[in-house]
């Protein structure tokens, strides 16, 4: 039987896998949220049929574009973060934490303005708490072994 080669790679805690799954879920949801306002305004069928601004105010179409744009940024960022995160890069932890923070703000705003998305909320909470786990912080170089935060 061939000897199994010992991997010299850093061992990935299970929380990292959980976070990666949550990011994929969020990515898919954000992608849906990107398409949804555009579909609702029939942009893919009729194209841009009206102005996006009226003076300083956004029109309904403009608002839909802005919303879509925000979700597009969030979903693209999610994928970039996911790649870095699986490669255990420090920057990806920071970016993911910031991304989760922004995502949580949006989720809470959605909730308080009567459009709650509980799946997004749950995914965000899981990511936030999982990123706070000492082992995860240590593997990404956020926390040192002596307990100090960097």
């Amino acid at each position: 039987m061939a000897k199994r080669k010992k991997s010299d790679k850093k061992k990935r805690p299970i929380a990292v896998t959980v976070i990666a799954v949550a990011i994929v879920v969020l990515f898919l949801l954000r992608l849906y949220q990107f398409f949804e306002p555009l579909i609702r305004n029939q942009v893919f069928i009729n194209g841009i049929t009206g102005p996006l601004f009226m003076g300083w105010q956004l029109t309904a179409l403009g608002s839909a574009f802005l919303t879509s744009l925000i979700y597009l940024v969030l979903s693209v960022t999610g994928i970039i973060v996911l790649i870095g995160f699986l490669r255990l890069h420090r920057w990806s932890w920071v970016l993911l934490m910031a991304w989760t923070g922004v995502s949580l703000i949006i989720s809470l705003l959605d909730y308080f303005y009567s459009h709650p998305n509980y799946i997004v909320m749950v995914s965000n909470v899981i990511i936030a708490f999982a990123l706070n786990i000492t082992d995860v912080q240590r593997i990404y170089g956020i926390r040192r072994d002596d307990g100090l935060s960097l």
Binding site: T100, G101, L104, V125, L131, N132, T134
Partner: protein, 614 residues
Amino acid sequence: MASASDRPTAPVTASDLELLRKFEPVVYFTKGEQFFPTDVDHYVRECSLWEHHPDGRDELLVRQGELTLEKLIEPRPAGFGSVRYLRFIEALSLAESAQVLADQLLLRRKLGEFFHAGIGRLARGGILPRLLDGLFSLSFLLRGKVTAATAAAAELDYHEMLTKDETYTYYGRLTRQNGWTILQYWFFSSFDSWRSGFHGVNDHESDWEMITLYLYEQDGQLIPEWAAYASHDFKGDDLRRRWDDDAELQKEEQSHPVVFAGAGSHASYFRRGEYQAEVNPPLPAWLSGLLHAWNKFWTETLGQPEANAFHIPFVDFARGDGLRLGPGGPQTWSPVLVDESTPWVSQYRGLWGLFARDPISGENAPGGPMYNRDGSPRASWYDPLGFAGLDKVPPPPEMQPMLADNCAKISRRQQELEKLIPEKAAELQEKGVRLKGMEGNPHLAKQYGALEKEINTLSAELRSLRREVSENTSLMEGLTRRLERMKAGGQDDPRAHIHHLAEPDDPTQVLRFDRAAQTWAAVSLSMLMFAIAALIFFAPGYIWAGLAIILILFVVAESFLRGAFVQTVGRITLILAMITLVILFIHFWKWIIVGALVIMGISLMFQRLRELTG
């Protein structure tokens, strides 16, 4: 580190004054300091004496120009709740106030001694402390305070006094307790201008500060061992430094400890620098309890670093770049001996300056060296050892005999126990055998119960004796090791007793972008208010969401400038996650409980089945 033999000594036969002079301190002030240690006689002659009654009335007892130290202590009965106080600066009219403020500016220009804060205190704390600082400043609208004009008038008066008679006084006291000879140097200043002059917490008329030296006797000589410097309201071990800790306790001409006085506050520091003096604003008990519980959850459950956001960072500037007072320089001390028999020390229990009616007392003048503001005895006077945590420490020559004595006592006790334990053990076995013999005899049930009780008591006693032997063995090892080390001339770590070492800030390390952070610190609070105002005006429908976003943006910007971006983003996200979690729990508590029960059930079943299948 200097050994005991290198230390300065003074013969035990020296007079109190000689001893005080031998070890008198050298005090370095910060450039821009306006008030130096002066004598109380001059000061009191410039004051009037007042009584504040519980009904809010202020009664003039002795007018300005007529008061002397003798008149100050004349017996005058006072009712409960009344406050006796001196008044250095009389109430000023608007025109007089404007005049003294202008004169103060002229005086400072003439002296050319301006204070520059450098990287200000506001930039040393986060946005929340800054917000609290704003509220603290606004609190002076409600609290009593010493006005800027009073501070200016005090500066002018003191300068005039100093010009007429340039003397710098300390009040020296010698006392003996528990084998220690204690030298106290009390410094009186006519005003504390920390707030008005140096962006500090408070101003008040008059100020009493103190340092204490602790000497022990050996071969007919007194040798200094410890120095404790009073700093604000702190007390305990952290205040003292050992004489041979040269890095912490600087000396000039070997025998004169060096003190760096805080600008305006006159608090005493061992090292030159700028110290963060954090003030925790008074909070209601329920809020303090809530914060305590939150901090515990934050640090212990969530593993976050401890942070006290609810403090106001004030800086005590002890730069030591100003006037130098003490032996070996042009400005020397005029010592005055005091003790309990000095009438003005023991018989005047009132305030040594204006009673500003400040409910949290920061702006009220202090009591004298022997008394607190409320007239109760001052701990640093009646218990100078306990004040610096030295009440548990014997003088060095007594340390070895005490250790040896302790060892001998423990050794004797061990010998006693060595005899006692076998006796008790034999007795217990004998009773055990008897108990066993009673089994199967129902008519002996009563005796059986009583004997069982006796056996339990004896067994517990024996266990306790054996534990004592074990503990004594460990203790004996420690004491013997220490005794041997001391016999070999080994010394303890001079800072082993310090829990929290007061260290000056390194302002260049505090901030990432000095100038940008400082500017941000100065304008951020106002910008925050403008942003909130704009939000209310332009988007009143989104007030709460907008407010939350604005606050988060400000905190993130702040953290970026302070080089704490990663930590701050982590904290904010965690807080948002907890809020979300609470919301989720409110909506789905049934599902969460059901889910948790199902998971626990599966887990238990899995464990039990594994047990069954081996």
